[in-house]
Symmetry: D2
Subunit: 343 residues, 4 copies
C-alpha cells in the first residue's frame, strides 16, 4: 500500500548513501569534533552569510527543540508557540519535562504575529506568572503554511523590542524555502532569528538536524547541554557528512522543491474534481476535505493521516509528498482517484 | 487605606494565636511526627468520615499543589485544569518546573465538566502527546464560584471511568462549603476526590494547608516527596496545632461563612446602586463592573485588584472579604461609596 | 522524656511570640512586599554593612537551598559540597530534583578547603562531565565545627579565582558566630560569600530563613524562582517580623551564645568522666562516644540521636542544646548521668 | 595518525552498510513501528530465550540510560552506581537532569557487589534521604573488566531481596560476552537483570542501542518517555535493521571477539617488554603504565587517551581496539614500539 503518510518513510537519498559509503575505513573524531562537521559548519556559514554562527548537529527534531530551548531558558521562563506548534502538541511534553511552560495562542494559519504575542506579554506582568522569553515558530508550519520575509521581519523586530528570543523550527525548511510564495533565504534566517534548525530527517537524511545559533550568547556551553540530553552522537560525523552532501549543489533545496512540486500535481487532481482544502496548500502537505463516503476506500488503498471532520459530511485527510515521491506515484494515484470518483 | 485585596492580609485568628501561646515550653517531635499533627489528622478523618485517609500539613498552596501533583504523575503524564486554574496561571510554572504539562480548557464559570474534559482525552491518543492523568479543580474556584454535589459527582464518576485522578484545591474551601448555594460536605469531598486540601492560609491561619489523600495508592512514600520539595517543615506541629484549633467547634466553617456574609452585604451595596458583576457572586470574591470614571477615586481610597475591562466603559474590580472583615469595615465602605456615587 | 534531639523542638522564643501578638488587626501586603520584610532587610543590610545586598525570607532550610541553588545554576552546572553537607545527605535529593548534581568530597571536620576542591575542578575538564560552578558550605557545619575567618577568606578567594560561587548555609549561623573560637562577623559573611542565609528555625523562630544575596547578578528575577518553588509565603511578613525581632538588640546572637554555653556545660560533664568526642566540640552539638553498655539506659531517659559506632565498644550519641535549654535541664542531666556512671 | 582512542571511530561494518543499501526505495512506518524493528525484536527474544521481553531501539548510550532510568524511578528514588560508572561520570549529569541522584560507591575493579551496596541501603533509612531503588552496572565495565555469572547471580539475587531494580549498561556487551574469562550468555542477562541494553555504537553500528526490558512492569508506557526525551527516531527502522544484521550469524559476538583478540595481541607486545597494566586486561581496553619519558613520542604517533599517573614515573595510557582494528594495525604499532623502546 503506497504511503502519503509523511516525508520520512524512506531511508535516505542515494547521494547521501554514496557519501556514507565513500568514507568507510576512515577514522574520525567523535562527538562532533570531526572534519565533516567542521566542513558542514563552514558550508552553512557560507550559505547563511553568517560567518560567526555556531552550528551543531543533532539526531532529531524533538531532541533539537528540547536541548536548545532548555539550554536557553532560565527555570522560570517560558516559550510562546502557536497552539499547533510541534513542541506544544506532538513532543509528549518534552519542553515541560525540562521544566518550562509552553504558552500557546491560536495562530493565523498556524503562524504567530506580534499582534498575537503582545497580549501574552501584557498578561504576564509579575513573578506570580512565568516569564515569556522565547518565541517558537516553524517554517513550514505544522499545517504546511510559510512565513513571508515581511512577516518574519516584523516578528523578529517585535521580539528584539520585547527582549524575546526567536527560534525557528526548520524540520521542513527545504519545502518552505522553495514554496511558490516564498521570499525568504538562508541568509534572511540568519539575520532574522536568534537560532533556527535546518531539518534533515524530512529532506532525505537518515536522521539529523543542523542547529544554527546566530545569537552567540545562546551558544555558551551548549555542548554541555547537548551531551547531558543525549543529543551528542558519538559518530556525529555521519550527521555532518549528510549535511555536507545535502547542501552541496543545492541538493537540499532541490529535494524541497521536488516535494512541493509533487504536492502541486496532487493538488491539481483534487482541485479538478472540485475538492477543497482545509488549509490553503502552500508546500508538501495537502489537507483535503473528502466526502465521508470515500474515506474507507481511500484508506484501504493509501496510507494517509486523518485530521478530523471539518463538517459533518467531510473528513480532512493529509496527503504528504516527499523527496522520494515520483511522478509515477502521482499518476497511479490519479488513476485510482478517477475510478473512485466515477464509482 | 483599607484593603479588600485578599483574604490573607491579617496574621491569624485570635484563637490560633492563643493555642500557639498555650503550648510554649513544650517539646515536640519534628517534621509532622508530633502529637498535634496526629490529633489534627484524627479530627480531619472524623470530619470527613474517612478513617483511612492520609493527612499531611504543608506550608502553602503552591507548594501543596506542586508536591502532590509531581508525586502522583509519571514523567509523561499531564494534569488538566481550567484556564483560570491557579496552577495554570498564578504559580509561575510550578507544575511544569516539576516536569509536567498543564493542559488547559476554558471552564464554565471557572469550573470543569466531563463535557469539557472528554475532547482532551480523545485528542491525546498516542505516545506523541502527553497522557492526561489528573484533573485539577478548585473549590471555590479562582473566580469565587462553587461546585454543586451533583457536579462533583459527575466529574468524579467521569474521572474514575477514564482512569483519571481528581484533585481539589481547597485554598478557599471554607467559603465554598458555607456558600448559600453549597450542598457539599467534608464527607462528600473524601468520597468524591482522590485528594483535596483544606486551605488554612486564607481562612485565618498563619500559614498551612492540610492535604487529605483519600486514594491511598497516591500516598505511598509521599513524605519523601514532601521532604524533597522543601514542604516538610521542621516545626510542623505549628501547622497541626492551627488546624486542630480551626476545626474545633466549627471555627473553620464559621470563618468561611463570615467571609461570605461580609461579601453578601457588600454585594447588596453594589446591587442597590445598579452595579453588575462580571461573575455571579457566590462566595467572598466580588467581581464588580465599575464605570471607568470612578476607578481612580476608589483605588485611591481602597486597595483592590483590577481584573481588566469587560467593556470599554467599565473596569472590573475584585473586592475580597475575609474572616477578619468587620461589619464596621463594610459600613465605612458604604458611606464612602454613597458619597462617591452622588458626586 | 527530655529531648536533646535537636534545636528546633520548641515553638518560638517569647519575644517573637510577643511581636507577633503586637501586630494583630494590622493589614499587610502579601508575598514579602510588606513593611516588616522591608525593615528586616534594612536591619540585615546594616548588620552586614552591605547596603546593596538583596534579602529574601523563606520558610525553611531545604527550600532555601533548593530555590537558591536551582536559580543560580545553568542546567549542566553542579554544586560542590562536603560529603556531610546537608544538601548532599539530608534533603532527599532536593538539588538533584531541580536537575543538578551535587559533587561531594570528604571534608576536613566537615569543612571544605581549596585543596579539596582543586582536584574536582581538574577532573571536570570537558563537556562530558558536569561543570562545577558553586561551592556549598555550612557554618556551623553539620558536625558542629566552624570556619575561621582565614579559612573563609582562602575559600572565597579560591572560588573567585576559579569562577565559582560560594554559598553558605547558615541554619545554625548564630551558634557559629558566637562559638569560642569564632572570629567571623556578619560583615565578613557579606564580603566573603556570594550568598548566605541566616537561619531562624534553629534559633528561636517559628520558621524562616533570611537569604542574603551579596552578588547581585544572582538576584535577578529571584522572586520568580521563589514563587515557582513554593518558597514565597503569602504572609511573608510573619517571617520578616521574626527576623526584625531576632536581630534587635542582638537577640539572635544571644540565643546562639546560650545554645553554645549549654553545650559547654554539658561537655564538661562528659569530660570530667573521661568521655571523648567523635568530633571536637565547637558549638551546640556534642558527638559523645559512649560505652555500649550505657546506651540503652540513656536512650530510655533522654531523646538523642545515635551516630553509629566509632569502634566496637562505643556508640556515638549526639547531644544538641538549644536556645530553650536551661541550666536546670543540664543540672538534671548531670544528676542522672552521675547515677548512671556509678551503677 | 592511527587512533587507538576508542571503538567508535569508523562508520559502520560493511554488512550493515550493505543491509542499509538493500532496502532503499522501500517505505517504512516511523517511530519503531516498522517490520525491521519487529524482526530484530524477535531475534533478540530468541537469542535471550525471553519471548516476552520488550525491546526498544534508541540512538545512543547516554539517551538510553537517561530515558530508561528516568522512566522507572519515582521522583525521590536514586540509582546506585560504581564511582567509575558512565552515568556517574561521563554523561554530564544526565540522570540528575531528570531529577535523580546517582549514589556512588568505589567498586572493585569497577564492579559492584552486594557487600558494597548493603551499607548504602542501611544508611538510607528514612524520608530525609533519597530512596535507593536501582542498581546500575556496566558489562564490560568502564575499565574493561567483566562480571562472571556467579557475580551477576549474587547481585541480582541481592537486588530482588532488597526491592532494587538491576539495570546493565551493555555499551560494550559484545566484548564482555566474548572475553576469555566470560561465562555469561544473552540468556543469562535476560534472567539476571530487570533490563539491559545491547550496545551497537561501539560494535560496528552507525548508532543505536537495543534496550531489552525483562521486567515488564518497567515497560508500561515506555514509548511515551522515549518520545518525550527525544529518543524515538522517526526512521527507527535504520536502528532495527542494523541490529537485525548484527545479530545474524553471530556477527555481533564475532566483532566483540575480534576487538578482544586485537587487544590481546597488543597486550602481548606490552607484556613482552615488561610493561604493566593499571587494570588487569580483560577485554578491548588496555590501561598501560608507560614511563613518562615515552609518553610524548607515543602521543605524537598515536591517538590514545591519558588516564593520569599511577605513580610519579609512569603515565597510564588507554589503548582501545575495535571491530575495525586489523592485525596489520597491530603489527605497525609493534614495529613502531620496538623502535621506541630501543631508542
Amino acid at each position: 500500500m503506497y504511503s502519503f503518510t509523511n516525508d520520512y518513510n524512506e531511508t535516505a537519498h542515494p547521494k547521501l548513501l554514496e557519501s556514507l559509503l565513500s568514507q568507510t575505513k576512515q577514522k574520525n573524531s567523535g562527538y562532533g569534533l570531526d572534519d565533516y562537521c567542521q566542513l558542514a559548519t563552514q558550508q552553512i556559514r557560507t550559505l547563511t552569510d553568517s560567518p560567526k554562527s555556531a552550528v551543531h548537529f543533532l539526531p532529531g527534531g524533538t531532541i533539537t527543540n528540547l536541548t536548545f530551548i532548555s539550554h536557553v531558558l532560565r527555570p522560570y521562563q517560558a516559550v510562546i508557540a502557536a497552539s499547533t506548534g510541534h513542541i506544544a502538541v506532538h513532543e509528549t511534553g518534552a519542553i515541560e519535562a525540562t521544566g518550562h511552560k509552553v504558552i500557546t495562542v491560536e495562530g493565523v494559519d498556524a503562524k504567530l504575529t506580534p499582534e498575537l504575542i503582545k497580549p501574552i506579554l501584557d498578561e504576564h506582568c509579575d513573578e506570580h506568572m512565568v516569564q515569556p522569553k522565547m518565541v517558537y515558530i516553524s517554517n513550514t508550519t505544522e499545517l504546511g503554511t510559510i512565513y513571508s520575509k515581511q512577516e518574519l521581519q516584523r516578528l523578529y523586530q517585535f521580539c528584539q523590542q520585547h527582549n524575546l528570543y526567536l527560534y525557528l523550527d526548520g524540520a521542513r525548511l527545504a519545502m518552505a524555502l522553495t514554496a511558490e510564495a516564498n521570499d525568504l533565504t538562508f541568509k534572511d534566517l540568519a539575520q532574522l532569528t536568534d537560532a533556527f534548525y535546518i531539518g534533515g530527517t524530512k529532506v532525505g537524511a537518515f536522521a539529523g538536524e543542523a542547529l544554527v545559533i546566530n545569537n552567540l550568547n545562546l551558544n555558551q556551553d551548549f555542548r554541555f547541554t547537548m551531551k547531558q540530553k543525549g543529543a551528542m552522537m558519538a559518530k556525529s560525523w555521519i550527521l555532518g557528512l549528510q549535511f555536507l552532501t545535502l547542501l552541496q549543489d543545492d541538493l537540499y533545496l532541490q529535494l524541497g522543491a521536488h516535494s512541493n512540486k509533487m504536492a502541486k500535481t496532487l493538488q491539481t487532481i483534487f482541485t479538478e474534481h472540485g475538492f477543497t482544502f482545509n488549509i490553503p496548500p502552500k508546500t508538501n502537505q495537502l489537507f483535503v476535505n473528502i466526502p465521508n463516503g470515500l474515506i474507507d476506500d481511500i484508506m484501504q488503498n493509501y496510507c494517509v493521516y486523518s485530521f478530523g471532520q471539518p463538517d459533518s459530511e467531510h473528513t480532512c485527510l493529509r496527503f504528504c509528498t516527499a523527496w522520494s515521491t515520483t511522478q509515477d506515484d502521482i499518476n497511479k494515484f490519479q488513476t485510482y482517484f478517477k475510478k473512485l470518483i466515477q464509482k
